[in-house]
Symmetry: C2
Subunit: 213 residues, 2 copies
Amino acid sequence: MPYPAGHRPVVKKAIVESARKLFNRHGFESVSIQQIMAGAGLTHGGFYSYFHSKSDLYAEVLNCFFTDPNWKSCWEGVKVDLSSADVGPQVVRAYLSRQHFENVEDSCPMVALPTDVARSGKSARSAFETVFRSMVNVLERSLTQNGCPRRATAQGIASICIGGMVVARALVDPALAGELRDACMSVALDLGGWSKSAKSKNGKSKAAAASPR
Amino acid sequence: MPYPAGHRPVVKKAIVESARKLFNRHGFESVSIQQIMAGAGLTHGGFYSYFHSKSDLYAEVLNCFFTDPNWKSCWEGVKVDLSSADVGPQVVRAYLSRQHFENVEDSCPMVALPTDVARSGKSARSAFETVFRSMVNVLERSLTQNGCPRRATAQGIASICIGGMVVARALVDPALAGELRDACMSVALDLGGWSKSAKSKNGKSKAAAASPR
DNA sequence: TGTACATCAGTGAACGCGCGTTCACTGATGTAC
DNA sequence: TGTACATCAGTGAACGCGCGTTCACTGATGTAC
């Protein structure tokens, strides 16, 4: 063997990483196996000793994303502490950050690939669903308890974050994209009861800031 | 000529319509010119007498969407009266309706194609931006006046609608997709001050319903 | 009205190309003796 | 330690295929006389 016994998993991970970045940037259809393998420093022929098909790799890319407990690659460089009580606003701020907006390659797959996934098979959509459920759970746990439907609010906040980023990436005008990210961030923080005015004014004005009348 | 003089525009429109439906369903890359032309009842060879390239057609499909002042094809069958004062909640309800969720072919392109557009050239993204600005404007005009940043709220509502639908389409579990649409609808209506509790209780509880504490 | 011609929308064969996938082979490594 | 062999990760040529695009041609229509 050209490499130590434990080497294949390392190579496999390199292929998945290469694929993740290329898929994030160009989508599923526009990326060839040759490009993916080249990104991992290999030739295309060896691909099928690691994966059954291109679709298989796609599902694995999405699943790997979920496997990472800290969603590290979701917003590379932006620290999110899952054990913190402040995790909700942290997630919102990181998700809608300029960093996450610009870093397409390391972006959350829910932002980069949602419509590709919607057109894909069960395994890809199942992986996507798991990622989404995780995000909603994290947000929900961070909402303070009361009688309101916290789960629905958490789903709404997640949708603003994902939708805002997806739309921002599709616009031409960078200024509008920035404005949209800011708007979504303030609305989302407000919905969660995490906005600055909420903290300073205690429980009443935070809702008023998001609801215009 | 095999057809009356004014026939070419009709045929061109048929090609655009065929392309719109196929792009909505399968994305830009996965649809061939042969399929598009077949959908319009023609063979592939004639395509280039109507369009310069496949990308050209793509931009035109998106532009046509904007051209339609009533966004008819956005939610085929769901009536939205743009002159009504209630247009905001009408748009939200139509956008997140089960009908719009299921009707992929006639779906709003911001739901079906946002990531395809994000990877495309300037013309496609410019068309997308115009559609988005229109949606935000319609929502903004429907928000009642007060000192709050109505534009930011309108952008947030639009992002919930688009994001909620994009995510719902990518999930495997239909029940979760339905729950998500409902959650986004209630959060969005609440943000706009259009929820039922807002109407009945007058100005205070509508905010509380969306903000969990 | 009838004939000859010009127009041009649409056809379908052909082009080069890159794709996903297969597979016989290479050659570096580990193992047996 | 040295030799012969087995293993197998990775290579690269080859496969059939469908793509976007081009273009010589067809044949139905409109026009001129």
